[in-house]
């Protein structure tokens, strides 16, 4: 099952979800690590080049994910309280919004002087906006948004665990495989 139904996520949505999650946490770790490197470290340049290139690929992945979401049914929230389902829905959009804003702000740091971003020698993404002190402002924004994303995604994960452990429903399992059992079957 590749596509979503109103009850389950298809393989494509599941793969996109975990690929984005893995990339984001990898990029978070790489970002924290690379700013601590000093000038004479062997990976001083490579870490940044990798971070930028992966960031562009992540942006493409996000666009693909949003496009897939738009052409697929959305599995209904499994909470019995409507406000919890609404909250989860808002959380998903907050995460999408933050992810997009983070890749855009990162792009604006590196392209602030008109230089393009090189993606592993495959292609280049040209600069667009080049304002004065753009790299500083975009840098601050990038950092604040990243920490917001990390906090919100941790809450998102905690909520999924709460569904699994406390409510004992399929919320977490249905993001692991499409046929995670119907609502009729007990755990």
């Amino acid at each position: 099952m590749l596509k979503n139904t109103v009850h389950a996520y298809g393989w494509v949505a599941i793969a996109l979800h975990w690929l984005v999650a893995l990339t984001v946490y990898g990029m978070f770790a790489l970002g924290l690590y690379m700013v601590e490197l000093t000038y004479y470290d062997a990976w001083y340049r490579g870490s940044l080049e990798t971070h930028k290139a992966v960031g562009i690929l992540l942006a493409l992945l996000l666009l693909a994910r949003l496009a897939w979401r738009l052409v697929n049914p959305r599995p209904r929230g499994l909470s019995t309280t409507p406000w919890e389902n609404r909250l989860a829905h808002w959380m998903h959009w907050a995460l999408y919004g933050l992810l997009l804003a983070i890749v855009v702000s990162g792009y604006l740091i590196s392209t602030a002087d008109g230089r393009a971003i090189e993606v592993f020698g495959l292609f280049q993404v040209p600069a667009t906006l080049t304002a004065e002190h753009q790299e500083d402002v975009a840098g601050e924004v990038h950092e604040i948004l990243v920490w917001s994303l990390i906090i919100l995604s941790a809450l998102h994960a905690l909520a999924a665990l709460k569904h699994h452990v406390v409510n004992r429903d399929r919320t977490l399992r249905r993001m692991l495989r499409p046929n995670s059992g119907s609502a009729r079957r007990p755990n």
Binding site: L48, I109, A112, E135, G139
Partner: protein, 186 residues
Amino acid sequence: MKKLLLALSLSTTALAANAADYVIDTQGGHASINFKVSHLGFSWLTGRFNDFEGDFVWDRENPAASSIQVQIDTASIDSNHAERDKHLRSDDFLDVEEHPRASFTSTAYTPTGEGTGELTGEFSLHGVTRTISFPVEHVGEGEDPWGGYRAGFAGNTSIMLGDYGMAGPLGNLEVELELHVEGIRQ
């Protein structure tokens, strides 16, 4: 009494005109503060501070009475690479949020020859103030084509980043500073 005051004020004006006050022509872009750093010993990296202001006192008849003060906006550092400039502004180097201004205020000027002298003063950078001394060349002065009077100077000095609290792995890096100032007489 009034006449005396008038005469007095005229004479002080005349005195002031001799040791003229010049405002550095940053407005017209006839001044620059450039720097030069060795890149790994392979080449020279150059850059500059785009925003600064200052003025000087200069009297050709009495050069020893000359003085200058310059204020530099440290965030205006420009090495023609946004990522590097962002790093240079961070607390690894200039820490421009904590130290938005660098300044030089002269304490002495010693003529050393025809059109040359030794300028001494207090240089403040990154919260550290040190007395530095460096040679200055009086490039020229005279009336400009637009009704003003200008005088210009050039000077070179070098500092170690480590001396100004930027220890780090690049602390023993020598930075050459190149100053070009043209002042318009007020």
